[in-house]
């Protein structure tokens, strides 16, 4: 795979890559995509996609289960914030986004 293509997808995924990683990944992705391309050997255009995986044809007692939308006690803000590397009062801190 071209390094420019890797850089394009890395940018979409918000991954900065150094030149060593770029070289390695360009090589790896070529052989990985060749493996993925083996799925082109079969024509399954008439088959539907499995989007909702909670539906299995063999299972009857199985469907997406959603709880009722009732208010519940949530976690404390303090508990949520304690893992942030930088915080200020009751908020997460990010670099300045408005000039």
């Amino acid at each position: 795979m071209e390094k420019g293509t890797i850089e394009y997808f890395a940018k979409l995924a918000r991954l900065e890559l150094d030149s060593r990683e770029l070289d390695l990944l360009a090589e790896d992705m070529t052989s990985i995509i060749a493996l993925m391309d083996t799925i082109k050997e079969i024509d399954i255009s008439e088959i539907n996609e499995s989007y909702d995986f909670t539906k299995n044809n063999a299972a009857k007692n199985y469907s997406n289960s959603l709880r009722s939308d009732d208010p519940e006690v949530s976690m404390d803000a303090e508990d949520i914030l304690k893992n942030a590397a930088i915080k200020l009062e009751n908020a997460f801190v990010v670099p300045k986004v408005v000039e």
């Binding site: 890395a10 995924a13 493996l35 799925i39 399954i44 942030a84």
Partner: protein, 484 residues
């Protein structure tokens, strides 16, 4: 007292008969970890104080005769399963220092039964790998020969049980991550039916494939853990509502008349001869036990590896988008803009294999590629699922090797991701189709490394795989690892 051949069941008997206290049992395992884990490196963190407190509480329950089979049993937990106030890293730098504010349902179920959590065990970073070598923190060794890998991604779970550093463990399995390390380390592991065990608190890799399951020294011990961890959970929308079953009640049940299918695609080129011979011997054992064994074909198996890598990587690229350095985990220093912060944090926080998968997933989902990769993989998922469902109309269980080879030499495989991905051919179909599967030892190669037998069941067919695995296990003589 001889504690070297302990099982969960034996330990429970000792505890109930007051031949050992829960604190003494936990102390024994903590001592073994001190003695041996320098060599095996299975634990990322051990919390002695908390473990001894839990053991002390368990003893009170045992004394009041209100304890379950798991009460006072020391276990390890894979480091992608959150436990409140306990460091949980997913073996990634990006979660360095993360202390979850909540506990995963599966782990909570074990804690509620009185199990003692010895610590969190090593894994491939974000469960992406099959050697536990992609961990940011350390490399784990195979207890049968420390020059070999334990498999992965639940390598710390399997190695800790194999080396006698825990009586059981919770792992997770997205494409074989419970079964493959169980095979490499000579222990038993179950990947349950998708939805049977809550994923709440399991750090997401590929949500439609991930499933938590038990690893232990034998089939019965796995059923005790499985009984405890599967429960309906309204915090996981894919959780199955089911009537309560006791999986341990299927131990020792007759398997004569069981119909066993063997997909011939699993005996193709690339299967090493020691593994082939051991699995063929196992098939003879099943015939001798009265089961009917038949080879048949599932041609779609050949597409299972690329379909799995497209789906799992696509889901991972989305799931891992949350790691931006702001809310938790590692944060890169000195970034001037928001985008620079995210880009640098992810560059420094993720390892190479995680970056590979994120790139592959981004590629499969990108405009212009979506239809030919991601959408087609979803169609293949339907095809594979239907083919396996059809097979289970005819057979009760399917048997194959768990892996094409025994454990790899450390440091020899990371440079060739394509070959590593292809080695997942025996395990990924169970995840694609959401089916249960178990791996248990069925032989040893010429170097003495364990060989795993895979038994797959129909949807919610855990009773069948448990019956069959236990019937085979009763005929098989295991060799314990000698750690030196």
């Amino acid at each position: 007292m001889l504690l070297s051949d302990l099982t969960i069941k034996k330990a429970n008997h000792l505890l109930k008969r007051k031949q050992i206290s829960a604190v003494e049992l936990t102390e024994h395992f903590l001592k073994q970890i001190d003695l041996l884990d320098d060599k095996i490196c299975s634990y990322l963190s051990v919390n002695k104080e908390a473990a001894l407190q839990q053991a002390s509480a368990a003893q009170k329950a045992i004394d009041s005769d209100e304890s379950s089979i798991l009460c006072g049993i020391p276990v390890s937990i894979k480091d992608n399963i959150c436990i409140k106030d306990t460091k949980t890293t997913c073996a990634s730098r990006i979660l360095e220092g993360f202390i979850p504010p909540y506990t995963a349902t599966a782990a909570q179920n074990l804690i509620s039964e009185g199990a003692v959590i010895l610590g969190k065990v090593n894994m491939d970073e974000f469960a992406m790998g099959s050697t536990t070598e992609t961990s940011y923190y350390k490399k784990t060794s195979n207890p049968y020969d420390i020059n070999y890998v334990p498999g992965g991604s639940s390598g710390g779970s399997a190695a800790s049980v194999s080396a006698g550093l825990a009586l059981g463990s919770l792992g997770s399995d997205t494409g074989g991550s419970i079964r493959q390390p169980s095979a490499f380390c000579g222990v038993t592991g179950i990947k349950p039916t998708y939805g049977l065990v809550s994923r709440y608190g399991l750090i997401a890799f590929a949500s439609s494939l991930d499933q938590i399951g038990p690893i232990a020294g034998n089939v019965e011990d796995c059923t005790f853990l499985l009984d405890a961890i599967c429960s309906y959970d309204n915090k996981d929308s894919t959780s199955i509502r089911r009537n309560d079953l006791s999986y341990s009640s299927y131990i020792g049940m007759d398997i004569s008349n069981m119909k066993i299918g063997v997909p011939q695609e699993y005996f193709a080129e690339g299967l090493c001869s020691d593994v082939r011979d051991s699995v063929q011997n196992a098939l003879k054992v099943f015939e001798n036990l009265g089961a009917r064994v038949e080879f048949f074909s599932i041609p779609s198996i050949k597409f299972s590896v690329p379909a799995y890598y497209l789906l799992s990587s696509a889901e991972a690229s989305s799931n891992l988008a949350r790691y931006d350095g702001i809310k938790y985990g590692y944060r890169s220093e000195d970034s001037k803009t928001y985008l620079e912060l995210i880009g640098k944090t992810r560059a420094e926080g993720f390892g190479l294999e995680v970056k590979r998968r994120i790139l592959l997933g981004t590629y499969a989902l990108a405009s212009g590629y979506y239809d030919e990769y991601y959408k087609k993989a979803l169609k293949l998922r339907t095809l594979i699922k239907n083919d396996f469902n059809r097979a289970f109309g005819k057979y009760d269980i399917l048997i194959s090797p768990t892996t094409p080879t025994t454990a790899y030499l450390s440091g020899k495989t990371l440079d060739d991701p394509r070959s590593m991905y292809l080695a997942d051919i025996y395990t990924v179909a169970a995840n694609i189709a959401g089916l249960p599967a178990i791996s248990l030892p069925c032989g040893y190669d010429e170097k003495g490394l364990p060989i795993g037998l895979s038994i797959m069941g129909r949807h919610l067919g855990e009773p069948d795989i448990i019956k069959a695995a236990h019937a085979f296990e009763a005929t098989f003589t295991k060799k314990k690892p000698v750690i030196n």
